[in-house]
Amino acid sequence: MSTPAENEASIKQESGPSGTVQDKPKKIVVRTGDGEVFELKEEVAMEMETIKTFFMEDNISYETVMPLTNVDSWELVKVIEYCSKYVELKNKENFHKELKAFQDEFVKSMSPKTLLSLSNVANYLEIKYFLDFICQAIADHIKSKDVEYVRELFGVENDFTEEEYEMAKTEAPWAHENLDKDLY
C-alpha cells in the first residue's frame, strides 16, 4: 500500500527529465561553491555537459539542487550570460557575425586573470564552445607578451636554474626580441 508521501514522490519523479506534459519552461537549480543558489533555464543548463550528465544519466529529478562546488557565483553569472546569448543566437542567420560582436564586448571588460578562472570553469562544466572561445581569448592576449608576464599571469614559479633558463632561451633567441612591454 503506498502512502501519500510515496505517491507524491512518484509524481515528482514523473515530472522530471523523462518529461511529461508541462506548460511552464523547466528550471534547473544549482548551488555554487560560495553558497549561492541559481535557477537556470533548462535549455541553457543543458549546454553544460556536466549538468546534463548529472541529470540525464541517472534520471534525477529537477527538484534536486545540483552542487557546483568548483564554481563561484560571479563565474556562473558570466557563464550563464554567454550560454544564454549563444542559445539565443544559435539558430539565427547572422549567427557568426552577431556572436563575434558579442564575444568582443564580453572580453573587453575582463582582466586576463578573469579569463583564466573562466577557462577553468568552462572546463569543469564541459562547455566546449565556451572553452574554445576563452582559450582563444587568452592565447590572443599572451601571444605578444614576454616570459615574465606569462609567469606572473599564470602564477607560476620559475623552477629553472640560471643555466636551464638560458638553455631554454637559446633554443629560439629571436623569439625574445621586440615584445610588448606591458605591465601586468
Binding site: L116, S119, N120, N123, L131, C135, Q136, I138, A139, D140, I142, K143, S144, K145, D146, V147, V150, R151, F154, G155, V156, E157, N158, D159, F160, Y165, A168, K169, E171, A172, W174, A175, H176, L179
Partner: protein, 445 residues
C-alpha cells in the same frame, strides 16, 4: 638547383629546427604507450606528481595545452621558458601535432605551398577534413603543389604533420632528385641536400620499391634525423641526414640487410613513427612472410619483427599505423563475400615484441574488390586513424569504420579545384584534433 617559391631557406631551417624541438621526447608523455627502451631525459620533475612545485595556477593540463596550442611559434618558444611544466607540455608530441592542426582549423583563405623548378605545377595535394560529428568530408584550405621537369614526387611518409616526398626516378633520368620535407599546414618546404654517397643503381623495371625513408628524433643528441635505405636484390646502402647539417652520412648496415637476407620487395606505402622508432612493412618473397623493419634513431640500427598476418592471398591489404597511441597493424582480408578486418596492436616493445588482436570484424560492405591485384599491391591503399576508428581510402573514396558500432561510412572525395587534374589515388593522413581529421589526396595532370 630549384628556383621557385621557397621560404627564405636559412630562416625556415632555423624555425623548422626550433619548432621541431618542441616535438621532442616522443616516448615521454603518452599514457597509452608502453615502456620503451631508452630512458627519458630533460624537462620533467622527478618523483611523485603531488610534490611538483610548478602548477599553472590550478588549471588542468588539458586547458593549458589548449591555450598554448593556439599560440604562434614565436610566442610558444617564449612560453616554453616559463617553467618546466610549460616546457614539458610544449614538448609533448601530441601537443606538436595538435599545434599544427590548430593552424589547419584556423585558416580560412586558401593556403598554398608551391615548389617548382622551371615548370608549371604538375602534382598537387589537396587537404580534406572529416568532421566526425557532422559526418561530412569537405575540402580544406591547405594545398601544396609540385612541379619539376625531371622528377616525379611521391609521398614517402608523414612525421608529425610533416610530409616527406621522395623523387621517383624517371626512366632515362640521371639519378636522384632532391627530397622535400613539406609542412602544408604552415606552408613551408625544406629541400634536402642531394646524397653525396654513391648508391647502387637499380633496375626500375623490377617494380620493387627500393628506396625507403624515415624520420625520427634522437633524444640523446637532441637532433632530428632522416634515414634513407636503398635495398636491391644484392646489396643495400643506408645513410642518415641530421636536420640542420648539410650532408648525408653513411651508416654501416647490420642484418637484416646483408646479402643473404634480402629484404627487397614490396613495401607498405607508409612508414610509421611510433615510440622513437620508424617502422616499415616488408614482404620477403623467399619466405612468403611479412616483416616489420624498425629503425632506432639513437643507435642507428635496424631490426626485424614478424607480423601476424596469415593472409597473403589474392585479396587483402596490410597497413601499419599509429592507433590510440600504439603501433598497430590493420589486416584487411577478403576470404569470400565478406570482408574481415583485424586490428593488431603491438603491446610490448622489448625483445619479445607481442602483437595483440584488438579487433576482429567481419562485415559485408562496399570495399573495392581487389580482384586484379595480388595482395601486396594493395599497399597503394591507405589506412589511418580517426577519432572513432580507422579509415581506408582507395581511388577517390574514403571509408570510415566506426569501431564503436562497427558501421562503415563511405565518402566521395571531390575532384581537384583546378580542372585537368586526375586523382592519383594516393592519400596521406595529417592527424586529427577533436572531431576533425585531416587528410591530403594527390592529383596530377
Amino acid at each position: 638547383m630549384a628556383g621557385g617559391i621557397l621560404m627564405h631557406r636559412s630562416n625556415f631551417l632555423k624555425r623548422c629546427i626550433d619548432l621541431l624541438k618542441t616535438l621532442s621526447n616522443i616516448w615521454m608523455v603518452r599514457n597509452t604507450l608502453t615502456e620503451l627502451d631508452e630512458d627519458v631525459t630533460g624537462g620533467e620533475t622527478d618523483g611523485d606528481p603531488n610534490t611538483r612545485v610548478t602548477t599553472l595556477t590550478n588549471l588542468p593540463e588539458d586547458v593549458t595545452s589548449d591555450i598554448l596550442m593556439r599560440l604562434p611559434v614565436e610566442s610558444l618558444c617564449r612560453v616554453q621558458c616559463v617553467s618546466k611544466t610549460s616546457l614539458d607540455i610544449s614538448r609533448s608530441p601530441d601537443f606538436a601535432t595538435l599545434h599544427n592542426l590548430q593552424a589547419a582549423t584556423d585558416a580560412s583563405p586558401m593556403r598554398v605551398t608551391t615548389w617548382c623548378s622551371g615548370t608549371s605545377v604538375l602534382q598537387a595535394w589537396q587537404s580534406f577534413k572529416y568532421n566526425s560529428i557532422k559526418q561530412t568530408l569537405t575540402k580544406s584550405v591547405h594545398v601544396f603543389q609540385i612541379g619539376s621537369k625531371q622528377y616525379d614526387f611521391e609521398v614517402d611518409f608523414v612525421f608529425c604533420n610533416l610530409v616527406f616526398l621522395k623523387t621517383l626516378i624517371r626512366h632515362g633520368s640521371d639519378g636522384f632528385g632532391p627530397c622535400l620535407l613539406v609542412n602544408p599546414l604552415r606552408e613551408e618546404v625544406l629541400e634536402l641536400p642531394l646524397s653525396n654517397i654513391p648508391v647502387p643503381t637499380t633496375n626500375t623495371d623490377s617494380g620493387d620499391d627500393t628506396d625507403w625513408y624515415g624520420m625520427g628524433y634522437d633524444n640523446i643528441t637532441s637532433t632530428y634525423k632522416i634515414v634513407h635505405v636503398r635495398a636491391t636484390n644484392n646489396c643495400a646502402v643506408a645513410q642518415v641526414f641530421v636536420v640542420g647539417t648539410s650532408s648525408w652520412r653513411q651508416i654501416p648496415l647490420a642484418p637484416p640487410f646483408d646479402e643473404s637476407t634480402s629484404f627487397s620487395g614490396k613495401r607498405s606505402n607508409n612508414a610509421i613513427y611510433v615510440g622513437g622508432h620508424m617502422h616499415w612493412l616488408v614482404y620477403r618473397k623467399i619466405e612468403s612472410l611479412g616483416y616489420m623493419i624498425s629503425f632506432n634513431f639513437n643507435r642507428e640500427e635496424f631490426c626485424a619483427t614478424l607480423v601476424p598476418s596469415s593472409n597473403y592471398g589474392t585479396y587483402g591489404g596490410l597497413h601499419l599505423l599509429e592507433f590510440r597511441g600504439s603501433l598497430a597493424l590493420v589486416d584487411v582480408h577478403r576470404p569470400d563475400v565478406y570482408y574481415n578486418i583485424k586490428i593488431w596492436v603491438l603491446k610490448s616493445y622489448d625483445d619479445e615484441k607481442k602483437w595483440e588482436l584488438h579487433h576482429n570484424i567481419t562485415m559485408k560492405c562496399l570495399l573495392p574488390i581487389w580482384t586484379s591485384f595480388p595482395a601486396w599491391s594493395t599497399f597503394r591503399e591507405f589506412c589511418a586513424e580517426w577519432e572513432h576508428g580507422i579509415c581506408l581510402a582507395s581511388e577517390d573514396q574514403c571509408y570510415f569504420l566506426d569501431l564503436r558500432n562497427l558501421s562503415m561510412k563511405i565518402e566521395q572525395l571531390p575532384p581537384y579545384s583546378t580542372p585537368g587534374y586526375r586523382s592519383k589515388a594516393r592519400c596521406i593522413a595529417l592527424g586529427f584534433k577533436h572531431s576533425l581529421s585531416f587528410f591530403m589526396m594527390s592529383y596530377h595532370q
